[in-house]
Symmetry: C2
Subunit: 342 residues, 2 copies
DNA sequence: CTGAAAGCGCTTACAG
DNA sequence: CTGAAAGCGCTTACAG
């Protein structure tokens, strides 16, 4: 940074670098953009000049001409209570931010907690102010993915966008297999009255994890008793209510597979209030391996979603999409993590 | 949006609007920027043309000339565990995002969980890619505020930046008064062995809330017994450990004022394990009124930090700072919220 | 491989 | 109040 007469910074431009290196501005620009068609000598001279002058590219000027913003939106469409309560969002947000930062791409955070915000964010995105969007919303009935896609905006969703998986890229953990692993583990630990608390039926996790539960029970030769199935909405409180419901309709349960760690934490509370010990009387298995699993007492045995890999893949796929590639889906394996609750 | 021959969007520019309205591009720009020195007739014509053409300003072109990016960074410098665990961050992040969105200003999320990330984010910000930064970090020993300020970047901190409050704008809740309200409330409910779990001594909340505790005890004519004071790090687990410590050294406590809701939740767990009933045997008072207060069992009586107002003020002050105003501090009142834990 | 030149879409003095 | 013009800092064909 140079300083002008008033001590105000005059940002160094490509022009200063060119003068310093003794080349034209075009050459500097070529070095900046990959160094193609530049002689080694010019290359070196420019790089040295950049170092000496402390040059930093003006992103606005670049964007003006390239038509790209070199930034992406992280769009969260959730009621705000869930964003406040569920640590999964933070994990995802954190690792996407990190992954993008490593590529020097800023993340614009957009939260659509209601229809108004949804509309405003959509308008902003459609105006072309970002190159693409990472979409996170558990409820896949959400029309926002389709609207963005229709507007020609590259989108990668976290979790299968039910109804439009053919047109929207997404990355998801293998929900069904995760559920299968947990239920089989419970069975092999000797449990025979295995209940489940599933997620909402309009979410991929709600559908797939329940399906995995049913399949595995059948494979183990256990009857699928509808009294063993309760539905939650992924909130901790809904887990507690579901557990109470199960206790009432099937008091002889000896295990519960819960479709999220946060709900599992609620189940733990309800079980404790009912005087059931965990894992003595009832084994509890969660899903996510979120920070909530470690905060629970006892700590949760759960299915790990590889959030780090999920984020990395989301970013990679979004870049590919922005680069013109066709949509694709990536399914990542899950893994059983044994702790104290089962 | 018009479509060119290939169906590709050709964004409508100020030029299209000018033609449509029958004025010059300068006039369109003047309407866009406040409508000064524009006749009512031209005003109307331009506005209609904007509506008809669906014109949206190209922010890059604007920024290139104004030198402003019209975006701000939300910089979180915390170890990631705390970001994952503590819902306070989400509340703050959410309301800042919302407040900025209402002014059409994008928020760039930056998370500095370690030295490397801190350095990269600093570099990005210092390059002038954002107009200012909203700084959130509980540990105020953090040098980042000073570094940004030294680089001439407008900063507003959340919470008093110890050591540099004269140079950095900040907004904070009235920590000391909040502590006073809680301790007095506990006293007036008949409690006489009132303990506290404070925050780290290098955070403003750690210092001020403890000071408020001491003062109020003295005013109530209660001795300040050092065995009644334990220190946590704002994590849930540290609250549990602090409670165990207190129970060991001062088994006759009948109340605990805890410097954060999350730690209070940990205290609740420890108390339950020790067989003490809440609020029967021991009353527990939290601080924050975060979502953790409602998730706790029993729900926490706590001190409300007005996060909505805090965010609004942070944004307002940052804009003022960007506009050239001198630093200032805003202290917002706190309020006792009665629930079941005390 | 390299330079000169055009142009991205806007804002802002400057004349009138 | 309004238009014509310069210029923000870059990238990218286009000649050479």
């Amino acid at each position: 940074m140079n300083r002008g007469p008033e001590g105000r910074r005059r940002p160094v431009t490509i022009h200063d670098v060119a003068r310093e290196a003794g080349v034209s501005r075009g050459t500097v620009s070529r070095v900046l953009n990959g160094g193609h068609y530049v002689s080694p000598a010019a290359q070196t001279a420019v790089n040295n000049a950049i170092r000496r002058t402390g040059y930093v590219v003006n992103r606005h000027a670049r964007s003006l001409i390239t038509g790209r913003s070199d930034s992406v939106a992280f769009l969260l469409t959730e009621p705000q209570e869930r964003f406040f309560e569920d640590p999964n969002f933070n994990v995802l947000l954190r690792s996407c931010t990190q992954e993008l930062a490593s590529q020097d791409i800023p993340l614009l955070l957009m939260i659509a907690g209601n229809e108004d915000e949804r509309r405003r964010n959509l308008r902003y995105i459609q105006a072309g102010h970002v190159d693409g969007v990472l979409l996170v919303s558990s409820h896949s009935g959400d029309p926002v993915a389709g609207e963005l896609d229709a507007a020609g905006i590259p989108v990668v969703a976290c979790g299968k966008p039910i109804g439009q998986q053919a047109r929207i890229s997404y990355v998801a953990a293998d929900d069904r297999d995760g559920a299968r692993q947990m239920v089989r583990f419970l069975y092999e630990s000797g449990r025979r009255r295995i209940a489940t608390v599933s997620g909402p039926p309009d979410t991929p996790g709600g559908v797939e994890r329940l399906a995995g539960y049913r399949e595995t029970l059948a494979e183990c030769g256990l009857p699928v008793d509808e009294a063993l199935i309760a539905v939650g909405d992924y909130s901790r409180a809904s887990g507690g209510r579901a557990a109470e419901h199960l206790l009432e309709h099937a008091p002889d349960i000896d295990a519960v597979f819960v479709a999220s760690d946060l709900m599992a934490d609620g189940v733990l509370d309800a079980l404790a209030r009912a005087g059931r010990s965990v894992p003595g009387d009832v084994a509890v298995g969660g899903f996510d391996d979120s920070p909530a699993a470690l905060a629970a007492v006892p700590r949760l045995t759960t299915i790990r979603q590889p959030f780090d890999r999920i984020s990395k893949e989301m970013v990679r796929m979004l870049m590919a999409r922005i680069g013109g590639e066709d949509p694709a889906a990536v399914i990542l394996p899950t893994e059983l993590v044994r702790r104290e609750s089962a």
